[in-house]
Symmetry: C2
Subunit: 383 residues, 2 copies
């Protein structure tokens, strides 16, 4: 195997593949990156056996300056290989693999040798028998991942809650995540032209995996998604991203979401966020991380308190308050995560009582879908 | 006590003072910042008892918008106080201390209360009886600190070596640091106009302290230095920076530096640095962190090797090699630290033998002082 390629073009693809490569693993070969050179392409593969990423560089991609002098394959230690490529002195480097699987990387006056492993020993990627493909518009899909990933659980005790649940039905895609203290749900219509109108899928993808995918597909317009019983594949002509799905039945979250409200506060999300950041300065001291919101007919007051340090009190500048007076306490970190997802938008917060979950929604929506973006937070009982 | 002041102007001074304030300490009041407001100024003080920093803001400094409504003093928890100021919603804030030492910070709609401590309980700063003042040009003094601080020891077993040794004599200032594996020395002439021509001082300042000082004085033109037996004070009209000195007699480092050389390599520092960064990719694996330099009449080759991973070999592009052939091994991290201090300059490296320390110097110097900038590195014996 012998090829030469532009250093930075290669590095970018290698960095994407490395998102799947573990630094430690019980299967040592998975700390390596697999390279497969054919006469017209170079395929770079990384995997931690749950997630596998494959990037393809074609000889016809001129900016990569890929020239395959001799086809072949090899597995190289991913971390060192990428560190070497990063530090090479020239724009283009040459990679040669000899019959003993020894790799020689040359660039300028520098020459590296690395001990490789036969690519035949690398695990095979899952082969999906794909019946139907759903085409996802990447920019909004990335938003969905960002909006819902804040609510995924980090506790391995309930593995399903570490995922984002996706339901595709009647031309809509619904994504939900909850760690049982808070929930975030986003619904978008799927483009009618590209499949997904007549299929129903119901599955849960590990949240971390989707966050990695989101980074890799940045800049793309659309990506195809294919699903089998236990695998999902996101793909374009240059990228294949495989992930296992989480086993089990995701909790029914629809029953948590209602339109009922006894008190409603409407204000700009970013202004409430700033106030909560100030209030949480105090609440973060000690074990009792809560802030309190007091709503009256014409007053919204936020307070944070630490017995050791002091207190903070702030009159909120709001758009409207309707309904009953209310005092409610909550974890300010959950609230901050939720509010950041709304940016500068105006939101309404719907409360039932000091002990019932409350919901946050944008007041204006461009979509005619109920609950197309809704977040739910469980308050903290203080009495 | 009551005052109002521009938030960002205050924060900048507070951040400088905080460089001295420890997050944990056996003297709890030192985690606080002392504020002393008089009719025409606000003095902010922080200390860890080894280093004390005092910043003064004058009412006449218009950009600070300082208004002292009522003089007074207080000690406030530094970390929380600065976090609060950072998050305040408006440009100017008001600080009020009541008779119970309770501080109220108001800005916009937000109001914080913090529990303060009587400033009378704060330790007194050392009072220096200053005989003579040396005026230091700040830009070059900062360079000296940067150039020498790389070689200070981090081992507390020989406390003196954690400092930078400064000798002022015959109108010259010499700074030296060594951790016994390497040494960095810089000598500058002191301006004749501003003292220091007729005094002799010989003292060692904790290296970390000088690095903090260097950050605080960035942007200043000059600073005054006053020395007593066990204290040094750097000061301007807005800043006082006190540090204890290290006890004991610094080792005689002059005897380590000679002009003798059996082999000399001349090349651009930054190019050698890049090559060593590449070579050290391999050497950093495993316990044997060395790279090898081979010099012959017309060849300079750098190699790094890891039995687990592979090797790297590079032909260096040099200006000249004179003297005997040589093979020498060294810790690439020491070499990288040293080379970074020379930037893009051409340097000469003077070798005696594979087991004797070698020196790095710039080939061109604007100063007519022997060894005005010299670095010394002890090689690693490999046989």
């Amino acid at each position: 195997m012998k090829l030469s390629i532009h250093r930075l073009a290669f590095l970018k693809k290698l960095a994407d593949v490395q998102r799947a490569i573990p630094s430690r693993t019980t299967i040592p070969i998975l700390t390596g990156v697999k390279l497969l050179a054919t006469n017209d392409s170079l395929v770079i593969t990384g995997s931690d056996s749950d997630v596998s990423i494959e990037m393809t560089i074609l000889v016809e991609d001129e900016d990569t300056q890929l020239v395959v002098h001799e086809p072949g394959s090899i597995v190289l230690p991913a971390k060192f290989f990428s560190e070497i490529i990063k530090k090479l002195p020239s724009d283009v480097f040459t990679l040669t693999i000899d019959s003993n699987k020894k790799a020689t990387i040359t660039a300028g006056n520098a020459s590296f040798t690395l001990i490789g492993i036969d690519a035949a020993e690398y695990p095979h990627l899952p082969e999906l028998e794909v019946e139907q493909v759903v085409e996802l518009p990447v920019p909004i899909f990335r938003q969905i991942i960002q909006n819902t990933s804040i609510a995924i659980s980090t506790m391995e005790s309930r593995p399903l809650l570490t995922g984002i649940h996706i339901l595709i039905k009647d031309g809509l895609l619904k994504a939900v995540a909850t760690d049982s203290h808070r929930l975030s749900q986003r619904i978008i219509p799927l483009p009618a032209s590209v499949g997904g109108q007549n299929v129903t899928y119901d599955f849960t993808i590990p949240g971390k995996t989707l966050v990695e995918l989101s980074r890799i597909v940045e800049g793309l317009e659309s990506i195809s998604m294919s699903i089998t019983d236990n695998q999902v594949l996101f793909h374009t002509d240059r990228l294949s991203f495989y992930s296992r799905l989480l086993d089990g039945r995701y909790p029914d979250t629809d029953r948590l979401i209602t339109n009922d409200s006894n008190t409603t506060l409407t204000m700009v999300a970013s202004e409430l966020l700033s106030a909560i950041e100030r209030a949480s300065l105090m609440s973060h001291v000690g074990n009792n991380n809560i802030v309190k919101l007091s709503l009256k007919a014409s007053e919204a007051q936020l307070t944070g308190h630490s017995p050791e340090i002091g207190t903070v009190k702030e009159e909120l500048v709001y758009q409207s308050i309707t309904g009953d007076d209310l005092e409610i306490s909550f974890n300010p970190d959950y609230m901050k995560d939720a509010l950041r997802q709304f940016g500068q938008a105006e939101i309404s917060i719907h409360f039932l009582s000091p002990v019932r979950p409350f919901t946050l929604r944008p007041t204006e929506s461009t979509l005619d879908i109920d609950y197309n973006f809704i977040q739910l937070i469980t308050p903290v009982r203080t009495f």
